[in-house]
Amino acid sequence: MNTHDHDDNALPGEDELKALYRSLPSHEPSRALDETVKHAARAAAPPRRHVPRWPVAAASAAVLVVAVGLGWRMQQQPTPAARSAPAQAITLAPSTSTSTSSVATNAAPAMDELVVAQTHAPVTTPESPKPRESLRAALKPRVQEPALAAKSTAPAEVAEAPVAQEVAAVPQAAPVPAPAPMQPAPAADVSNYAGARSAMTMKTMAGPAARMTAPTDATAIDPRDTPTQELDKIRQLLVQQRRDEALQRLAAFRQAHPDIAVPDDLRQQLPDHE
């Protein structure tokens, strides 16, 4: 963990102090404390999930079927030019095919007329066996792509995503408007910064109309804010003499980001506990 640069190493007398410090007794946590911590960690660890492979295979097969079906349907759909032709096609062969089902069942005897009808109106002969086979052959390489894509994306879809990450992802995906001014909320609500952020997100997602009318407040909670931006907003609240709100936000911040040290100027604002 020695990451000192030359400037750091220039501190006078440091080597001697370090050597003496290292001769101090090396206190260690007790075994009982070790066990307490490890036990808590084990209890909190999510069970390791072995994702079964069959859902991936099933999803791939389903995607394959859907892709083939769609491709087949699209192949069968008339082109814009052909859409205007059905009536013409029917009139071209009225005596040989009275319905599509009769064409399908009596395909061989009426093939000559059917070919004529196909060239004008492919939609009238969806049951024709020969085009289906050629279509299948034509679609084969095409349907492999979605199947492969499904394989590559399926594990990510089934993988367990932490709740906190989901919550954090929502505000980035959703467009956030100019936020509404902060109302002095009950302490229980505001003390949970993450809760406040997600509540804000819900509001913005649910109320596009409110978005239009909400006045801008430079100090309002914005889920997209970085921790530094949030701290700056807390400073602004203090400057604006909105101390209670600032302290609530600061407390919520420390709760939501225990790993981020609150700067001295803000930490000094925190009231003594108890």
Binding site: M1, T3, D5, H27, P29, A41, A45, Q165, D272
Partner: protein, 184 residues
């Protein structure tokens, strides 16, 4: 980030995925330095144990949102430092100089050392401990982060939430005071 830092992050991420053994490995790496930092800062064994446990609890609780943006050790010490600051507010003053000294002196000396040598070493250690004890909180934290945890000035600034110059100034003052008291 060096290799061990990457290892720490990898272990933490593995733990977040449910690998309890990864946590055990991570814990084994940092338990000693974290505990000593807290003990020498708090000067109270019971409080140090409480803060030690709470620090790890926060690590456990933060596993899902952990992203390896900073060194794991720095992040860990930040949490511990936040907790220390809070405890300073709650319990100031923590212990008198004599009480703290008694706590830190409850240590078995190595058997192989000669009596004269043990005595002089004991005296030097005692002086250092007393000198560290007498430092203001911020300076003591800075010097412990340096001597115990071997952090750079930038890392000390990061852990304590101050600017680099402030951290360096605190460290320099602390070092000077320690050297002065050792020289007396």
């Amino acid at each position: 980030m060096d290799a061990s830092v990457d290892d720490d992050a990898t272990l933490m991420l593995a733990y977040a995925q449910g690998d309890a053994a990864a946590f055990d490995a991570l814990y084994a790496r940092h338990r000693g330095t974290l505990y000593r930092f807290l003990l020498r800062s708090a000067r109270d064994t019971r409080l140090a144990e409480e803060l030690f446990q709470e620090t790890w609890s926060r690590v456990v609780a933060a596993r899902a949102r952990y992203t390896p943006q900073a060194k794991f050790s720095t992040w860990l010490l930040q949490i511990a430092h936040n907790l220390l600051i809070d405890s300073y507010r709650r319990h100031r003053p923590i212990a008198t100089g004599e009480e703290a000294e008694q706590i830190l002196e409850r240590v078995a000396m190595p058997d192989h050392e000669q009596p004269e040598h043990v005595l002089s070493e004991f005296e030097r250690r005692r002086r250092l401990q007393r000198a560290i004890e007498s430092l203001p909180d911020e300076q003591r934290t800075a010097v412990l982060l340096r001597l115990e945890n071997d952090l750079s000035v930038e890392e000390i600034a990061e852990v304590t939430g101050v600017g680099r110059e402030t951290a360096k100034s605190r460290l320099r003052y602390a070092m000077n005071r320690l050297r002065e008291q050792l020289a007396e």
